[in-house]
Amino acid sequence: MSINKIDPNKWVDKYSDYLFNFTIVRVNDREVAHDLISETFLAGLKSMKNFKGEATERTWLISILKRKIIDHYRKTNSRKGKAEIKIQYNDDSNEGDWLEENAPDRFDKTAEDVMENEELGIAILECMEHLTEKQAKIFKMKTIDGFETEAICNEFDITPSNLWVIIHRARTTLAQCLEKNWF
């Protein structure tokens, strides 16, 4: 098995969209999602020594995040929370002491009211990791956030033809990546 390295300085650029999407479908509140991800990063930093490189960084961060989400449900104790608390959970590990064994490679899909298309969202975000940083940013602004072409061109100081070339490359890469399972 290959050993995965840990590099906190890259966490935000590499994983924050992925973590955010994972969180927002479960807590449905932007501010709460933001705080939970902050807590996740900090807990990750505190328990870096437990990362043995067997799981991927992202899988490991997700396992921490899941615990944070469950803790959040416990605190708010809402009815929605009770319904969703069926996520796999080991009660005996301590705060800030995350073990990799607690990090299953795929999210245990026992929670029933997770968004129906979550798997698709995750697949797309995973495929977006194949894009360059600039392609990903521009594709996101154009496609997900719905910015006007002109606004993006101004922001990145590029011409509309530059933009469409970047969009074309991004779309080609994404379609290729998604083709196997989703086309």
């Binding site: 927002i24 991800i37 997900i144 989703w182």
Partner: protein
């Protein structure tokens, strides 16, 4: 680009029209020229159908991403924690 001159466009121009169409930014002439190209070009037909499918999947997934400001806050938090150690 001299796409106004001719009805027949090449593959790269067809792709350009097809991409614009995904964002409702293709003009009617562009759309017509693309359709005409697709009649003759199998490769672009494939690209076009993949491209349409991608648009469909993007909408269906309802992905939400975070803003650059949100990312900045996280980055600063991590940086602070790392230097405090």
């Amino acid at each position: 680009m001299n796409n106004k001159k001719t009805l027949f466009i090449d593959c790269s121009e067809a792709a350009y029209c097809c991409d614009k169409k995904q964002y409702n930014e293709a003009s009617l002439p562009e759309k017509l020229k693309m359709l005409l190209h697709l009649v003759f070009c199998k490769r672009c037909r494939k690209y076009s159908s993949h491209n349409n499918r991608l648009t469909e999947l993007m909408e269906k997934s309802n992905i939400k991403t975070c803003t650059e400001d949100e990312k900045k806050v996280w980055k600063e938090g991590i940086k602070k924690e790392l230097t405090d150690k």
